[in-house]
Symmetry: C2
Subunit: 383 residues, 2 copies
């Protein structure tokens, strides 16, 4: 099953080859699963083992992977040539990669490598340099495909819209369950189930759920608890369709919100609105961070804020849906139309034990960014 | 929330330090999240960014991570010292790691490194060698903690038993849904939901679900379909408790099984039973593979079988629950009591389009391995 037309895949390949020509690369070694998915549709978690997709400047593509992924590549991608390396004591897939490159006439060639990906561990990276360092001239091409991926096509945006609808649906399912005495596990199960039930995918990282003191966390952890009468609950979740993510983050208040909750929520809304004002062409990702940081500073929240306020979203694989570029200080990457960006404000005040989060996913345009979600930004108060 | 007693964590640290002394290591740089979880309880998907847990031979531990994981470490682990590096343009966390090591008096020390983990990308591994290669003497210690982790304590086995119960419960929930016309998404949602609802965790990789021709796949992929009147459905899933996994794999037959299904199922049972006979102390992981491969060969299934037949399971993080050691040809790792091992037979006959899988998780003992699951090995036929 392909989630895009053959023409779309052809167009992506043409854009990639044009970029390779600019960088005078004879070939690319792709290790990021999201690069392989974008270029060919190849959809797997098999990148947990060594595999490599080689793309030549003439458009030829060959995948080296394990036997468990041979049929996966055939059934999910446009790939025609798949070479299998076998597990055994002393197996050296890097030698098989070198043989494959040799067979593709790439001895002495200039080859770009995706080093900065979970699809290539440090151990495999070292082996690659040892085995191939004298075979070819290796260049860093870690962000070549991810830069192309950051601007979405109409077909991709359709998937993100559907992902966003699933995220809103998950919220609607969860909200009536969020009450004093409720089990966090029931809430999490209901949200994740709604997305899978409708044909959505697993998120590239677990949803974040935490109440009481753990509402100040922004990562998943094992171990569920029950909600108290006066409580705070932080949820970060994403709808996922065809592996495309649309994330949301909210802190819900059970019982009466404290003054600090109200104060932090007002600051969060102000910061998000300030970010929206600059989340448009002509600005950089660093500018969006500055807009956020400025509001945080004006409310004396510098100690309590995170040092990033969002990132690009797309078809990403585990261990995280966080894609590049990110909104952090000084990031010179430019905002372009048709990016799908998650803007979030996360304020964790450990002094008073108060959590506040607010965030949603936007489509950038030539003007103001368009939020995908229909949910309001109001503080979510529950009986 | 800690999932183990302080004494258990102290005992693990003592075992680790004893192993470090054998290898004459002054310190360890841990990058695998499963190592950090095992040693301290630290539970996060924050390993998607650069972080490092340094353990000194005198027992001192310091974590370097991002701001988003500062409270996560405090709320989930025994760690007392957490150093934060900040995202910004030109940030170099490796310099901050070097400063931290310097502060721990490790200049010129012999330091073991976990290179073979998704917690350290090739790009970060290169940066580590560049920044620290002349600061300290770096040794490969990729499998030091994972070897210790592969033998489970009574408290860990309790979690695996609970995980196995969740896996069986997911089966019981799913089975009545598996019928002609059913949506794969409904089945997947019901299984995953049951595990999360009961306080279980997300699996380290998505459950595998595929019917028709995609029943021959053994990885998750995006895109659900409906079951046909005569169909085959392959499911691979795991119950997960306190991040400990207990996996199962089955192929279900809707309508009448073909002769080939019956033939392959008989071979799968025979292979699994042959594996069980050698899955005990005195054998190696390679011996278990040989038992499997022998049965496959006797049934002329060499072309259709995978080149591995299982692996160790435990508390693993994304992108996969597959842990080391694995059952593949020639693996000299020894089977010891109190390992939790997933044995699977996966036969995919592309010639006839027939899928057959069978597998379950075992506790090794001083004698025969004990399956955790209560499910039978019979071919699962659904009207």
């Amino acid at each position: 099953m392909l989630h895009f037309s053959p023409e779309e895949f052809e167009g992506r390949k043409a854009r990639l080859i044009a970029r390779m020509a600019e960088d005078k690369l004879d070939a690319l070694m792709l290790f990021a699963q999201e690069s392989m998915y974008w270029l060919t549709g190849y959809d797997t978690f098999g990148f947990c083992f060594f595999q490599c997709l080689v793309v030549k400047s003439d458009g030829e593509m060959r995948l080296l992977t394990r036997s468990a992924d041979l049929r996966q590549a055939r059934n999910t991608s446009t790939l025609e040539t798949v070479v299998v390396w076998r597990d055994r004591s002393g197996a050296d897939p890097l030698i098989e990669l070198r043989d494959m490159l040799d067979d593709m006439d790439l001895l002495g060639a200039k080859i770009g490598v995706e080093w900065a990906t979970h699809g290539l561990t440090a151990a495999n990276g070292k082996a690659l340099e040892e085995r191939l360092g004298s075979f070819a001239s290796l260049r860093d091409a870690s962000y070549l495909v991810s830069t192309l991926r950051s601007v979405k096509s109409p077909a991709e945006i359709t998937h993100v819209r559907e992902a966003a609808r699933l995220a809103d649906d998950a919220y609607e399912i969860a909200r009536p369950l969020i009450k004093s005495g409720a089990d966090e596990g029931e809430i999490l199960a209901a949200m994740q189930s709604e997305i899978l039930r409708q044909g959505g995918d697993y998120p590239a990282n677990p949803f974040v759920i935490g109440s009481g003191p753990d509402a100040l966390l922004c990562r998943y952890k094992s171990g569920r608890t029950r909600l108290k009468e006066d409580d705070q609950l932080t949820l970060e979740w994403a709808g996922v369709k065809a592996q495309y993510h649309a994330a949301l983050i909210r802190t819900f208040i059970l019982g009466s919100p404290s003054d600090r909750h109200l104060e932090l929520h007002a600051a969060a809304v102000e910061a998000l609105e300030a970010m929206e004002k600059v989340m448009r062409p002509g600005s950089t990702f660093g500018d969006v961070f500055d807009a956020y940081a400025g509001v945080m500073e004006s409310h004396e929240l510098v100690r309590h804020r995170l040092s990033a306020c969002g990132y690009s979203l797309g078809a990403r694989y585990a261990p995280t849906w966080m894609d590049t570029p990110m909104f952090y200080a000084g990031n010179p990457a430019e905002i372009l139309p048709n990016m799908t960006l998650f803007g979030h404000v996360i304020i964790m005040d450990s002094d008073t034990g108060t959590a506040m989060t607010l965030g949603r996913t936007y489509l950038t345009t030539s003007g103001a960014p368009e939020p995908f979600s229909k949910l309001p930004l109001d503080l979510d108060l529950l009986g």
